[in-house]
Symmetry: D4
Subunit: 234 residues, 8 copies
């Protein structure tokens, strides 16, 4: 086995942190607050900050934010995106991600992706409310789409937006289905299926509402660009 990084520490008996993850995966460990108590989130983030200087928790409620701020007063909470951040990773010179969203209702997921990319030091731009029921709104922005290094395309309901985008431009496309809809949207399953069946080749997909996962996938791609151009900040 090569000299890849394999160390970790225990936090109060319930968490085994993986501090070398950034070196190994090009991504730090994130805290998924959704199923954790405020106290668990605060303890884990404090340990991360002590070790690596920054930390991010997703799916965080106000109660998580309150507990974290008690321990780490410099913590910032973005309620729309459900993100708590402390510090951030070095700002990168190379690479642009454009986050495209179909409707106003998809904003929380799109903003989760934007917030995570920002924390990771990546440059990110938004293009929102360009759903396919008015395809001209999208066509007006083809050049902006074509110039990005990675496109994150967020849509609920029938989830057709990534297909139309994928038919228009060349960059890598990470499609994020959202749970926006009702009835047979089946909490985002219809959008997920639509994206996986896209007739535009080369669209790849993450879990429903998984803005963070899309951001992480985009960051993996940008890391490759930087390695190839010799410009990575991290």
């Amino acid at each position: 086995m090569s000299d890849h990084h394999f160390t970790f520490e225990e936090v109060q008996g319930f968490a085994r942190l993986d501090h070398d993850r950034a070196a190994r995966q090009g991504l730090p460990e994130f805290v998924y607050a959704g199923h954790k108590t405020p106290e668990q989130v605060a303890a884990i983030m404090a340990s991360m900050v002590a070790r690596q200087g920054c930390a991010l928790a997703s799916r965080a409620a106000q109660s998580h934010a309150d507990a974290v701020r008690a321990a780490l007063p410099e913590a910032h909470y973005n309620a729309t995106a459900g993100l708590i951040t402390v510090g951030q990773m070095p700002r990168q010179a190379v690479g642009l991600v454009r986050v495209v969203a179909a409707g106003t209702s998809d904003l929380p997921v799109a903003e989760e992706a934007v917030g995570v990319l920002d924390f990771l030091g990546d440059r990110v731009e938004r293009l929102y409310d360009v759903g396919v029921a008015g395809v001209h709104r999208l066509l007006a922005h083809v050049d902006e789409l074509a110039e990005a290094d990675v496109l994150i395309v967020v849509a609920g309901m029938e989830g057709a937006l990534p297909t139309v985008v994928g038919g228009l431009v060349a960059p890598p496309i990470i499609a994020v289905p959202t749970s926006v809809g009702y009835g047979v949207s089946l909490q985002g399953l219809a959008a997920l299926l639509g994206m996986l069946n896209s007739c535009a080749p080369g669209v790849c997909v993450v879990n429903i509402d998984n803005g963070l996962g899309a951001a992480a996938a985009a960051h993996r791609i940008l890391n490759g660009l930087r390695r190839s151009s010799g410009s990575a900040a991290s």
Copy 2:
């Protein structure tokens, strides 16, 4: 109860024909050959022709066609569409249906719709291979789409075509999901869900691969147009 038409006859003990259906519903009874034996299909069609002068069977295999032709030599079999027809209903002066299909693989379903409309005497035009992965192919035909009285839009995979069409033009749209695809297309379920969740309002949907049902729905709409313009042939 009003004087609506309620009579029927028995065919060899296993079928109870509903000959007044055309007067009541504006549509004749069709024979679904899929689960019937060739002999059953031939007997039912012969009875219909004797009574109303024409008949149509859908989902018919070559073996059904052979049995029908033995009894009714004038029968015509369209193998692509799976339709057996004997005669047809009076040709109509008013109303145009345009059948739009996303890809070459969706042809059998689209042709079932075309064949049924032709049998019903309706005028029908085709617009094929205009899938959303190359949306400019569709945009080049916006005027043709806008001029139709009814649009039948056939698509498999992610089923996004009716949504894009519904965002471009005003006519009634009947969306037909097809079982074209693999993996999580789930035999057309993904396309069906996409169409039911369409963000373009006013798209309505029929069962997977149900070209006949779409044609029947279109015919109901055209009948209304004719009643209102005083021109119905039937």
Copy 3:
């Protein structure tokens, strides 16, 4: 590409309105309040009213209505149907939609359809509580059913009403499954499947509880009638 209408404006950075939609699709843009904040709904409706003189939001709660009324005191809120409306489109002389509902529990969905049609200027009549477990209640109204230009048929549980109606009369039928039921009604999925598998040809279907979508589909049909009779008000 033809001279179809493709312009839009941005509302406070999160919405990109599509004001020419009515000209293009024959339908204005609606606001789906379900996943939006009261503030977002109020801002979007205000922009719509400023531009086109009227607006409608669906799936609106009291909190949405309060925010809208603060900005637009003339707004009307129908709590049963979940609709906020400001003004309405021109009243139409041609065309009648009959909304048929199986049971008392299906009323909110049926009333959403009624309210949207009323906003669109269409004439609409109700026929409620005629479920198929007492089919004589339905048979007593066959003439009313036959006279409509479009039938919207709303039912939960087993969703059989559109099939029985479709076997009785000729007009176009838009079936709306509702989430009324329990156990294996699966929040309306059983009714939806029943309607998609209807043995009455020419029944088409919209998403579960989608009264608005049914109204929009009906309006597309009525627009065609008006174009053909030369009487459209819009």
Copy 4:
């Protein structure tokens, strides 16, 4: 524990027959041929006949019938119903089952029910091709429906027939969904869900295509009638 009957025998090491089942359950053991080899079916039926004088196998193919006839030349094979029978149980004076079927395609399932009832000695009548898309065909037979002691109602596609029947007449109703249909009929699941969600109270349901199960349920009811009227033949 009471003196109920609990004995059995082994057949060639792979089957453990339950010869007292008729005394205990009022029903003999049936052989489900579907997953068994012709040799297994023949051996089991021979053992049953030796012991109780009659036997029935369901879901039997021609190859099963051939193997059984080699061992039991008096065996009868009904290919439509997929039944092999040897002998039958005593003919009963009390009780009438009416088997109602929606369409010609539902015949194999309806005939399985008829054949099993006949084997059990029960009186059975048919009423076929009375689907709800032409509800007047059904209304013409309300008296026949009302006179039966049990109604077995067989339907595929949307499965609405038992609901309409249940709203018209009083006898016990056993609904049998069939796998007739395509697309989102989901091999009979749509019909099953429709029947379980019936808005007509008191409809009960068996597995898809389970004509035998419906016949057995009907026989349990008739046995009760006979016990109460003191007339059981068995």
Copy 5:
């Protein structure tokens, strides 16, 4: 058409009562309170009582009971079963239903069946907490099971109880799956599937948690017994 009873009345515009249902179906109309407002339930029950002297509402919450009692002070509310009753139908001399339940958690559904049968005038006995994980508890009661005219068997989780009962005794068996369980009980779907796949022939099934439906099915059977023995009270 025969002289079966087909009349009804409207209640305040939203309900169309079907007062002859008892004569036609052998069952009165029930009120499903689950999706109705307290005011709707009270108005419908008052109309029923005025006409037929008694009424029953199921899935009723305390708020429904309060509204009904304001209008009909003699109304009785059974909170465990979720039933509101006013009066009851004539007590019957013939026929016994035994309601068998697997566990304490299945009680609300079992009690709904008991309460409805009691309202209908039928004699009903309970046998509770005899789940199959301790099959000897069930074997101790074989005689009681065998003596009933109808068995209603209620079970959640894996839903095996009706199969074991069906293998022990002869009466008709109506199986009721309950939503008791967690994880892949899927809100009762696992129990439902288990019952529909029962290897004991002649078990029939109603919707999940549908105690009322099971009672109605049992009442249909008892009505037949009474007709055959000449003893019906109704």
Copy 6:
């Protein structure tokens, strides 16, 4: 990391054998023939035999057996169980597995478990055709069930057998659902769900038709018994 065994070899570029698996897991590597060509299966088995003296392939068709025998003439093929074996592991003195099957149709799956256990050197006994619709057949064998060290319980349809067994005796129970059934057996899914929801605690479950997996799980338990009693042959 400890000195656990981690070596492997490549077979003709497409397989990377894991010869130390037996030392590490207490189980050799098995060949799943289902998705492999006859040539691939023969090459992989030949390599295994060369290295470890014995090999087993499951889900093997006659064509696989023919190819293997061409390379390894001593190979044995069990068509019922779908197993090809060459040699076997040392016979064990300690430990008895009893394989219990509900019906004759479940035999292929039960025999796969028996054949794999035999190959592994474990002592195995059969108890077949003891389904729960005749629970007395099972009760007659309680002592045999209680004496086993592990019970593998195989059942299709409603899958209730492991629950009843689990309520009668103490040994570990590995439940195997089979795809025996039709309609809503859903190819074994109903049986699987029933077993996972078992009300008898301590029943654990493997994939549908996975006789091999059940045998492997039993072998892991027996290995522990042998280690604790100091008697393992391997």
Copy 7:
């Protein structure tokens, strides 16, 4: 039938306790509090304690604990695990279960298993937060895994941990999927499916979040070890 233990008692008419279950199954009866009222839980536990000296209820909320403590002041409530215990079974000398959990969010389920094993007198050790996204965390503990007599492996999301563990070491593995996740984790269904499809042979699975079931299965295995080594305390 052998002299296995078959007695029980009734508790206040709604529960039929099965006090000989421990002798028969090697496991006492547990109380599933999830669907029971606090009063029911308290009454059942009091009866159990009076008879067998100890009792355990799972899925208990604080309100259950309060009611039990009012009746049984010595009761202990573990809120994380949702367990109420009174007393415990004799401490065992032989056998070690290691409970392995993928992440902090899986703790409640893992702790339910730990608490039940502790109540049963079994020795149990924990190994938490060793998810497969950092597989080195797991590899550092291979010796601890290999030494256990039974491994209970708890994981949500993709549920891959039991497969990796099963590939590393020989003991019996009971996999417990948890409902931790979102989107297409489908409340634990994805993890369940992953575990049932494990490519590591001999992994068996219990219901989602079923820590108690896993503990009971482990106890069955340990009981066998003790019987074989002659050391059982019970």
Copy 8:
């Protein structure tokens, strides 16, 4: 709208080729042969070759290959991968894709990805048979994994391989579930769900068995690398 490329041509009335797709999307149009006739595939490929000099068809059977070779004798058919190719795109100097596969059975899907990348001119290396049930096989190759520019990770059954890979190294990961498995693998759905729920962040996923889609996604990423390094051949 910018000057992006929007032209196409019709092929014999059933296909509307999109020859500028490569310029617009960085990918040529592929032919999905699965649902097309041999004649359709041959005609479409001939048109593509005439225009752009090369063409690729996927999911092609021998009959497709025969028809294509009759028209284009230089066509090459790879039966394992199901690919027909004529010519190929220019060989690229920059970028390496490593295709990782869990088992021998996953080869056809992995080879589809390899063949498409080769056609596109990309450098591709294989790493096969490194499933997670023997994780040391994977750990031996960490450096090779870390050096790739894109990893395509192909797995069936529980689909855990991409998660383990994603936890070890930094490059972008495109996960491809395969339909390898049986029972609740549900034709690849279990693997798909496992991958979408991956606890390793930044894994993205394509449809089941979609090797071509993964290759197209990888090519989009490599195109970006080339643009950024100024080395694209195309």
